[in-house]
């Protein structure tokens, strides 16, 4: 038997992650900034994302506030968080979530270095996919902490 714990923390973090994901959509959702001005969403992510235009998803004249890899990470974290009550039941007491997280981080580094040294060329979609994998791994890693197993009391 198991039950969900820390519901307040779960919903609080869910709200924060929803805000991060919505903000990362930048001009696509929040409208364009004045000419020559930084969009408020670009200011928000400036410290953590290089925001290169050719590595950012765009629709017409509008662009996201973050590059494809960062968007993938935020999407993956949020998606992983939404299904956390479910995944937590399968991760409790197992090591695979941490292995999954280490593998996802390693994939990021390998993909980044391979592209940098021109061994291969990654694309916006591949960067977004690998980012999403890392983000989801981050949420899955902590998922068992939100589950209490009643028979684990001793």
């Amino acid at each position: 038997m198991s039950r969900f714990s820390n519901p307040i923390l779960y919903f609080f973090v869910l709200c924060l992650l929803s805000f991060v994901l919505l903000a990362s959509l930048g001009e696509m959702v929040w409208g364009a900034a004045a000419p020559g001005e930084l969009h408020w969403t670009e200011k928000l992510f400036f410290d953590l994302c290089h925001q290169l235009p050719d590595r950012t998803y765009s629709v017409g004249e509008t662009m996201m506030a973050v590059n494809t890899r960062c968007f993938g990470i935020f999407f993956g974290i949020a998606a992983g968080w939404v299904v956390l009550p479910l995944t937590g039941r399968y991760t409790a007491g197992t090591r695979w979530p941490v292995i999954f997280l280490i593998a996802a981080i390693t994939l990021q580094i390998v993909d980044y270095l391979g592209n940098l040294t021109e061994l291969w060329q990654n694309t916006n979609h591949s960067r977004a996919f690998l980012g999403a994998l890392f983000g989801a791994a981050l949420s899955v890693t902590v998922s068992d902490l939100f589950i209490i197993r009643k028979n684990s009391k001793s």
Partner: protein, 196 residues
């Protein structure tokens, strides 16, 4: 129980005050590392010829700084567990992670201000180097102008004390909040039952 007595108090009594030393120590170390990398790459860009490439050393260092910044939450929890209390709860780890992210952003802004006294021309030189690099790119003039305005604003924001704190804390804080929880998963000792 024996260990609780020797290592610290129960996790119920952990306050923000107890977390501050760990957040400060880790925030201090990480902000020095990220600021030093940023400064090194900044001077490298100032002293080198514009490449006309989107992918400059500063974009490389940005990725490294981003990764290092995310580790702050994990290591702050590790420090807390080692030095203060091994029974930190999930919510407390999240709070410690957020606090560490905030400390990193504030200290980096302070170092930037100090560096502006040491080398008052640094920001202007970096803006000029950034503009020169964009001007060397092959793209339509209108797009180039828009990009120059945007990148110059970016560099100035990074070197503006209040702006970098106000815009920097939320996202760095939230991401470290998550990694703080990962820290609890890896390092914290389990109590019988956790509640927020």
């Amino acid at each position: 129980m024996e260990e609780e007595k020797t290592m610290g108090q129960s996790s119920d009594s952990i306050s923000i005050k107890d977390m501050l030393p760990s957040a400060t120590v880790v925030g201090l170390v990480f902000s020095i590392i990220t600021f030093a990398i940023g400064l090194f790459v900044g001077y490298y860009e100032i002293s080198s010829e514009p490449s006309g490439s989107f992918f400059s050393p500063s974009t490389l260092s940005g990725s490294v700084i981003c990764l290092i910044s995310l580790l702050g939450g994990v290591l702050a929890v590790w420090h807390f567990v080692k030095e203060v209390n091994p029974y930190i709860k999930l919510g407390q780890g999240a709070a410690l992670g957020f606090l560490t992210g905030a400390v990193m952003v504030i200290l980096t802004a302070v170092y930037s201000e100090i560096w502006n006294f040491i080398d008052p021309d640094y920001t202007d030189q970096l803006v000029e180097a950034t503009i020169a690099n964009v001007e060397a790119m092959e793209m339509p003039d209108a797009q180039k102008d828009a990009m120059i305005d945007s990148m110059a604003s970016s560099v100035r924001q990074q070197n503006s004390f209040l702006s970098s704190i106000l815009w920097g804390i939320p996202i760095t804080g939230i991401l470290n909040l998550l990694t703080g929880m990962v820290g609890v998963k890896i390092f914290a000792k389990k109590e019988d039952e956790e509640t927020f």
